[in-house]
Symmetry: C2
Subunit: 458 residues, 2 copies
């Protein structure tokens, strides 16, 4: 039957693209309250598709202010494995809008690539899984039990899916959990992930005078929260990229020598990497290779600074407060709660005279390690080889998929973490995109994976 399913996938490419564009046209930005209804529309769209192919599907409401989880399942086999496919229907805010060549929620094809917010992250990736299931159902029935868990809070670190998973661990029991929310290691080179960085996302707030002051009258005696913030940020990370928070690196578990050897063999082209990023150099923590810095070392980055005057012209205000969005990527064995405490102490100490600084956690995710000897790994390798003509390499992932931790801890399942995107798909950036060829082959990869996992078990 596999060939019949693959045939359907190949003949259904035009329809699969229409489906993708429909989903991409829904501006399901979870971070922006004005798009709350759009998130719901995306979730409803998915439920209808999943019901339409013959699965039981429903929206699970977990947190009063949260976005619903799309849960769908088909348990038509009395025995054999269950595969759960994860995805997230929410997307990052599209700003800065002026840098998009075509509007972020009007999917536009240029040179076989679809440009839209969410094309890679994550609509194009979980839709490949949906389409794979749809083709199996259309040809007969899937070779193993299936479940989908598609959340709407991945981009805002929401707790709905993690809470749902932890509260329903028995009911959601699954042999394999498939997460395609990453990318290829390089064009043509699929990857399987052995560890993901965690994350601690904070806001640092610095307060100075109780009211905004005029810098002409008070400049020279007034504590300035922005100048203090600069000294705090400098005290957290040095010019070269070493993080200076006392104790920050204590728990970092270095990669194994096997991992390091494997990464060295990947032959990363630094010039290509620079072109992809649009940079002239690749600065970072001294003493570590490029891939170690991307995958196995923690980071600290500032994402935005709020407060004061940011309009046109020259308002000379010493503001009452300044805030910065600052996140840290964490690596296996680091604990977000411990890092938060270390950060809070460092920040309070670094504030300049007359100012006070506090840290607020916006969200966090534990780093994740994946056992690479579990029984799903070889089937996944074969599925990639069949769909893309090349077996995946073992890598780490620099980003976090927070719910992975909950899947691992609550469900005790075998994780398969990978992705169908390409390294230059512009995640979280203007002109986010997804190669339609990658999307279609991703569908085929999941079709093969279902077949391979069912056969591996029998």
């Amino acid at each position: 039957m596999l060939e019949a399913v693959l045939d359907r996938a190949r003949q259904g490419r035009a329809q699969a693209e229409e489906d993708l564009f429909e989903l991409l046209a829904i501006p399901s930005v979870s971070a922006l309250p004005e798009h709350r209804h759009d998130c719901r529309l995306a979730a409803d769209w998915l439920v209808e598709r999943l019901k339409g192919m013959g699965m039981f599907a429903e929206l699970i409401e977990v947190e009063p202010e949260g976005q619903p989880v799309v849960m769908a399942e088909w348990l038509g086999h009395d025995s054999g494995p269950t595969l759960t496919i994860y995805g997230h229907y929410d997307v990052q805010p599209p700003d800065p809008l002026e840098e998009w060549t075509s509007p972020p929620f009007q999917p536009t094809i240029r040179d076989g690539v679809v440009y839209a917010r969410g094309a890679d992250d994550n609509k194009g990736q979980h839709l490949a899984g949906l389409k794979a299931a749809e083709h199996w159902f259309a040809a007969g029935r899937p070779p193993l039990n299936l479940r989908f868990l598609i959340e709407g809070e991945e981009e805002v670190g929401g707790r709905s899916l993690p809470a749902y998973v932890r509260a329903n661990a028995d009911r959601l029991s699954t042999d394999y959990l498939f997460i395609a929310d990453g990318s290829f290691a390089a064009p043509g080179q699929p990857e399987l992930v052995t560890a993901l960085r965690g994350m601690l996302y904070t806001e640092i707030e610095v307060t100075g005078p109780r009211v905004d002051l005029h810098s002409g009258i008070f400049g020279g005696i007034a504590p300035n929260p922005f100048n203090s913030l600069a000294h705090i940020l400098c005290g957290l990370k040095d010019r070269e990229g070493r993080i200076l928070i006392p104790g920050f690196y204590d728990d970092v578990e270095p990669p194994s020598s096997e991992e390091l050897e494997g990464w060295a063999s990947l032959g990363i082209d630094e010039e290509q990497q620079k072109r992809l990023m649009g940079v002239d150099e690749l600065p970072g923590e001294p003493g570590f290779s490029l891939l170690e810095r991307k995958w196995a070392r923690p980071t600290l980055d500032v994402h935005g600074v709020m407060g004061g005057f940011t309009g046109a012209g020259s308002k000379t205000v010493i503001p009452a407060r300044a805030r910065a969005k600052v996140s840290m990527r964490l690596v296996p064995n680091q604990q977000p709660a411990k890092v938060l405490a270390q950060l809070g102490e460092a920040v309070a100490r670094l504030a300049t005279p007359g100012t006070r600084a506090q840290v607020f956690e916006l969200n966090s995710a534990l780093p994740v390690r994946i056992d690479t000897s579990h029984p799903g790994i070889e089937p996944a390798r074969r599925a990639f080889a069949a769909a893309y003509g090349r077996s995946p390499v073992l890598v780490r992932e620099g980003g976090s998929v927070p719910v992975t931790v909950d899947f691992q801890q609550a469900l005790g399942t075998h994780l398969l973490v990978t992705g169908f995107g390409l390294p230059d798909d512009g995640l979280h950036s203007p002109n986010e995109r997804m190669s339609l060829d990658q999307y279609h082959r991703g569908t085929e990869m999941v079709i093969h994976l279902m077949d391979e996992l069912a056969r591996a078990e029998s």
Copy 2:
């Protein structure tokens, strides 16, 4: 006739308040293009008032994109001195709006104080001068020739009035130039200003990657413009407040020992200063007194930071660029152009690896020194004593009134720089305010000043 004029002022207080509220209700924010028409309305309002009292008045258009200068004059005396009164009808942007108790352009009286953007800076102050002239005309005629120059670009460092003054220096020849754009040294204690700080207002732009990058994927190898900006700002000013730009202090002319002795005798109450500013300490450059730091030392302050993600939630972007609004207050003998060059070199050098930084000048003003032995000083002292019951102290001003330099250089006139505001009037801040008593006595002070200057001459 002086008594008759003063009587009119005292009996006309209700009308004077209505006039002030009318002008304050016009949101003449020069920094915001959407208020361009409102600036014109404020200028028209002033021209009508000046014509109404019997002066020749007109709008002078200088720069195509600028705001018009209100020019009014009455040269009814064949001999005797001419007094020119300066003011500016433009105001600072009112944000943050949510911190205003009453709306910024709905003047509201609480406890004898009017709250509105521009109440102190500068509508309440130049309107006191207008009302003084109006009362003289109503009682007969002013005792000396009068001119008003009221600009609409003071808050944006515009060039219209300076260009007009320099191009028409002969025509605008004047014996005295009166500028009330400051405040009392303390409640009940008027001041005369002997020097004003200048200013250099810049934007520092830091660029990193050509496009926004995802911190999960690229964190550890991507240059982050915000982290670079923090290192630049730290390298410009240390934790204690010393400015680190090489050569920055070279041209600073220290205050005379007479000035320092005078300031020491002012007996500044540091606790009161802290309460006024809403701070717990008064940090600043080590080794200098509070008044030296406010008046005679240059400063460097950050006013706002732009770029990246500043919305709700936790977008993990490493942005392509970050910008900061940074200004320096300059003191006598420092040159903005020279400081700009020093700053540009320092900033370029301080950018962290993989980022580039540039400085753009938004505007600048030379610092000003005023000779305190000119023939207008004693009349001004007597006018203050008559109106407020106390003679002014000689102080410096921390802020700049950029056109002062042009008045001094092009007109060679005697400057009288002072103010009717109070030290806690919240200039450039939410809930800006003006004591109505200070406003009315300011009108009386200018009535006396006109009388005193005319008599001093004769």
